[in-house]
Amino acid sequence: MNLTLLMYLVPSLIMFGCGVYGFLTRKNMIAIMISLELMLNAVDINFVVFNRFLFPGQLEGMFFTLFAIALAAAETALALAIIINVFRIAKKVDINEINKLKF
């Protein structure tokens, strides 16, 4: 079976859609973070796939993916730290707990 570009992009799009949906609907901050990771991974797939199909001789897409993974790891650590602190104060990880940061 010959794999085409579209066969990679469709799952990536589905992943991204799931991430968006989860981000907008879930109230648990951990779940929201997972949705965020889903979106990032969908983008990573896109990078790799476009690099593989459009510019086969080059590696920039791969590098960007590695970058994005590293950044995602750092961002996850930061987000988890925030969530833990929110939990210490509110005893909950509900996103509505932190809507007090307004006027």
Binding site: V20, L24, T25, I32, I95, N96, N99, L101, K102, F103
Partner: protein
């Protein structure tokens, strides 16, 4: 005494002011007063030494070719605007400045001494604010001395303002009394209004001549007033005219208005009667003898320029002659003795102004050189004698007020028996001002009348009539205070002559008022520094003495013993009497103009415009941004997911827009 000791004359009162103002509250009241008086005594001695050296010593060469020169003692640059336009602060002695040093220091010393007694209650305790009072007296003395020795117009202006401030502070010395507060505000505002014109005049003058200095404006190469110098200064305007008059005439008229404000010429006189709310010694010093003649001094200072700009001189002449009569008419009916004396002061200053103005009769240079500078000399001479006898009269009035606790002559009457020394001193003052020989006022007023007759018969007759009124109203005051009927004692103790600190100045000033007429003013204070040949004009002198005697006789008939003649006369022309008593409604007129006309029809609409349009515009801006903020603040809900939702919508909209743009 070397002439540069004048610096000490100026500096000592300033030091006294600083010392008493800063250290005064730390020391006892009496000691502050005594220190102030001793400081003034030293100042006076030095001032006398300097003046006598200037007038009679010839070691320093101030007399050259028979002309008394102006000596500049000290004149450093103060502000340099351009290479040519430089403001200097200096000390200059010329005949009138040297004469004013004597006048100011004498009266100031007398007032310092007198106040030691006057500013105490009946138990001899000094009043609250005694140190402040002496500090202000020193400040005033300093400002006035600085004014008369000024080397340029700008310096005169600065010291003009400073005497105004000192006057303001001293009128309002009893600052808890509303009348005093209103009076000092009125005095300050009216004189400031006049000073605005003065400043404009200085600006115009210096714009065209490029200098403020008197030695470039009026003094000739021989160091005395010179018409040639004044002529070339005026010619520097290049004959430009404004509204039909030359710009220099405008400048000089404006400068005169400044002087008229200080010297209480009609219609800027309204502040002086109210200024009597201040302590009486202050009235004697500031509002009778020194500050109020600053305007006369100013015109005398620029005399050669006024001689050439005859238009400005005519304005002075008419103003002076009218004011002399107007104030004398009011003085005839006032019941408050200080106010009556204030109007008498206005009238006498107007005499000096008129005398200066008629001095240049015709404005012809040759005529002036031929000897019609008489009016100038007479004016300065009258300034000198008037300062002495008017200070005497005010100090007497102060002693009376201190004894009976009232300003109204209805509370006095018959005081002669109780206060013989004061009565006698007051009588000397009255004889001097009425012009009875050999008292001081006779000699100076006679010269003024001669100068007026030289200008024209009409002027002479007018001023003679006013001189007659002077004799009448002064003796009316005298008789009403000291005679009329038995004194009815209304205080807890009978009035009596006051302590020696108050009586001694009366005696000294009384003696000066008798002998001051013999000062040879015609060889000392002439306009061109040269000796002026005068002789007593027997016709004029005889007439004026006769008129004065008629005035005194009338006053004697009406006011010596209680009778109903004054009442009948007042009833026979009730309208005129009331009008004069109410000062011909000038205060009401001012009130009407300022409140009804200016406030109501100009200020109020402007205020309304400001509040409605200008404030309204900015209020609108503020209100609009506030309501906009209320409208959009709901966006910041704090709900992260709604932010993200909006972000997605935006991102999708942008993406769609990009795609559509690319596709098209």
């Amino acid at each position: 005494m070397p002439l540069n000791f004048t610096i000490a004359v100026i500096a000592l009162p300033l030091l006294m002011f600083l010392f008493l103002g800063l250290a005064g509250p730390k020391m006892s009241r009496k000691i502050a007063g005594v220190i102030g008086t001793l400081g003034m005594l030293v100042t006076t001695i030095i001032a006398y030494g300097v003046s006598l050296t200037y007038f009679f010593g010839d070691a320093e060469g101030q007399i050259a070719d028979g002309v008394r020169q102006a000596v500049v003692v000290f004149n450093p640059d103060w502000l340099s605007f351009t290479k040519t336009l430089v403001v200097r602060m200096g000390i200059m002695l010329d005949p009138i400045a040297a004469m004013m040093l004597v006048v100011i220091c004498t009266v100031s010393l007398m007032v310092h001494l007198y106040s030691l007694g006057y500013m105490c209650d009946h138990h001899g305790h000094a009043e609250k604010g005694f140190q402040r009072y002496y500090a202000f007296l020193a400040l005033f003395t300093f400002s006035m001395l600085g004014l008369v020795v000024a080397t340029n117009l700008f310096q005169i202006f600065i010291f003009f303002e400073m005497v105004g401030v000192s006057s303001y502070l001293l009128i309002g010395f009893y600052y808890s009394s509303p009348a005093a507060k209103h009076a000092n505000k009125k005095a300050f505002i009216v004189t400031r209004l006049a000073d605005l014109f003065f400043l404009v005049g200085i600006m115009i003058l210096s714009y065209y001549t490029g200098t403020f200095d008197f030695d470039k404006l009026v003094f000739g190469p021989n160091g005395a007033n010179s018409l040639e110098t004044a002529g070339s200064a005026i010619a520097s305007a290049g004959g430009q005219t404004f509204l039909g008059c030359s710009v220099m005439a405008w400048a000089l008229t404006f400068i005169f208005i400044g002087g008229a404000g200080k010297s209480a010429m009609y219609p800027l006189h309204i502040w002086l009667p109210d200024a009597m709310e201040g302590p009486t010694p202050v009235s004697a010093l500031i509002h009778a003898a020194t500050m109020v003649v600053a305007g006369v001094f100013l015109v005398a200072r620029l005399f050669p320029m006024y001689v050439i700009e005859q238009g400005a001189m005519d304005i002075i002449c008419v103003t002076g002659a009218f004011t002399a009569f107007y104030a004398a008419a009011i003085a005839c009916v006032q019941s408050d003795i200080k106010r009556a004396l204030a109007f008498s002061t206005i009238s006498q200053i107007a005499f000096m102004m008129t005398s200066l103005a008629v001095s240049s009769a015709g404005g012809n240079l040759i005529e002036i050189h031929g000897g019609t500078g008489l009016g100038y000399m007479a004016s300065m001479f009258h300034l000198f004698t008037h300062a002495m006898f008017k200070a005497l009269l005010f100090l007497c009035a102060g002693a009376i007020i201190h004894a009976v606790h009232s300003n109204e002559n209805s509370d006095m009457h018959g005081l002669h028996k109780y206060m013989p020394i004061t009565s006698f001193a007051f009588l000397i003052g009255c004889l001097a001002i009425a012009g009875i020989p050999p008292f001081a006022g006779f000699w100076s007023k006679d010269e003024i009348l001669v100068a007026c007759y030289e200008k024209g018969l009409g002027w002479g007759l007018w001023m003679s009539a006013v001189a007659g009124m002077t004799a009448f109203y002064m003796f009316r005051i005298y008789f009403l205070i000291f005679h009329w009927k038995e004194h009815k004692i209304h205080t807890e103790h009978a009035p009596a002559d006051q302590p020696w600190t108050m009586t001694l100045p009366l005696i000294i000033l009384g003696v000066i008022s008798i002998v001051a007429g013999f000062v040879p003013a015609h060889s000392l204070v002439t306009w061109d520094g040269a000796h002026l040949h005068t002789q007593l004009n027997w016709t004029v002198a005889g007439t004026s003495v006769a008129i004065a005697c008629v005035g005194i006789g009338l006053a004697y008939r009406m006011y010596f013993r209680e009778n109903n003649l004054p009442q009948r006369m007042a009833d026979s022309c009730r309208g005129l009497w009331t009008a004069a008593y109410r000062r011909f409604y000038m205060d009401e007129l001012y009130q009407f103009i300022t409140h009804k006309v200016i406030f109501q029809s100009i200020c109020k609409p402007i205020a309304r415009f400001d509040r409605a349009v200008i404030d309204g515009f900015f209020n609108l801006l503020a209100r609009a941004s506030r309501s906009a903020a209320y409208g959009i603040r709901g966006f910041q809900s704090g709900d992260t997911q709604s932010y993200v939702f909006v972000y997605y919508i935006g991102a999708i909209a942008l993406a769609l827009a990009t795609i559509i743009c690319v596709a098209l």
